[in-house]
Symmetry: C3
Subunit: 157 residues, 3 copies
């Protein structure tokens, strides 16, 4: 892992940072609201969605939408409400004017009639591009906590 | 539920967005700090506070304050510390210059001498108005997760 | 506790507020990534880090770094991944142009191969100063929920 401190000089400005926070807020509300196709529209047409717990990446908006539609339907059928929280967003400008974000994402779930709990803790790394006054995700890597060595262990090796 | 994507063109600007994030931060700190009356001052005089798990809305700042005072005292007497987290805030400008927000809200609690846990996951929808250089809540609807059909199920029907 | 409402007139502007949110995002990513020394670089040389559950404050960047290095190594050895979330940040300008923040901080943890959970809920109060185009922490007080009287109880006395 590259130290976040090394990238302070490339931090995006306040306007872009606030746009990205709003973008992620809409993004998770679409997902948790069951709008898998509109959620996938927030990726570029050739976007790539990688999860470290899956055998291979989803490539392209159509594949990303189809995969998430199955997930959303399965969750809905189970009667559980899931809420994704993206936070602790660090956003750096890359040389080609795209933006790389590194963030945490938590998933909370509440069963019908039951109590809320933490379901999952992850980290995310996106490359975002600006097209037609919108942000779009060109690539995303999600890594589930508990599936790799703790970061602290890695940092010392 | 209306798709959040349909409202991108009405998103508030960065200045307003940051103001609203700060407003909510103060709002939850007042509440969790036991300042029920000052928390209620963040509603308009005729503000309406609706929770889907309550038989009817609280109407007017005085009723909102009185209801929350009872809640705050009950929690304090139990020795539990509660922390409200508002997040994933989407904020759209309405035609009359008020702002509609849709957000998630989590409540964490820690018993005296005990371990923290998630108590509740909800969604909120506010209408905020600007008066005398402050934001005020004209109306709020809070919906508890687990008390309605999962959003994904609703989106498909 | 001073009511947060009394300080609205001293709120920092949007530019500073967004900088501080980004600063905290980098801060927690450094910590959870195991970069204890670079994390400590975000304190001033003479910074003071106080936790209400520790017998005395850590004084100075070197002591802060050494203390956190021990903590980070211990966590890494246990195989647990921790994630700190700072949120609900209220930021006020002090007369000397430093900034006082009051915020909530949660810690989530995930054991290797296990499920995520809430580990800790706290509140923080920092004094931040601007040096050479960076924010630095001059002092921090962290108070663990569950170790003091609930705030509501205190507010009424």
């Amino acid at each position: 892992m590259v130290s976040p401190v090394q990238t302070i000089s490339r931090q995006v400005g306040v306007e872009t940072y606030a746009q990205i926070l709003q973008f992620y807020a809409q993004h998770v509300q679409l997902l948790d609201g069951g709008f898998a196709e509109e959620w996938a529209e927030q990726f570029t047409e050739d976007g790539v969605f990688t999860q470290n717990v899956k055998p291979e990446p989803k490539r392209g908006r159509a594949a990303i939408a189809a995969g998430m539609r199955r997930g959303v339907d399965r969750i809905a059928a189970s009667g559980v409400t899931r809420r994704h929280w993206f936070g602790m967003v660090v956003a750096d400008r890359l040389p080609d004017e795209s933006v790389r974000t590194r963030y945490y994402a938590l998933v909370f779930e509440t069963p019908r009639g039951g109590r809320a709990s933490v379901y999952l803790s992850t980290t995310g790394e996106d490359v975002l591009v600006r097209q037609d006054d919108r942000w779009l995700i060109r690539s995303r890597l999600v890594t589930h906590d508990g599936t790799t060595d703790p970061a602290g262990a890695g940092a010392q090796s």
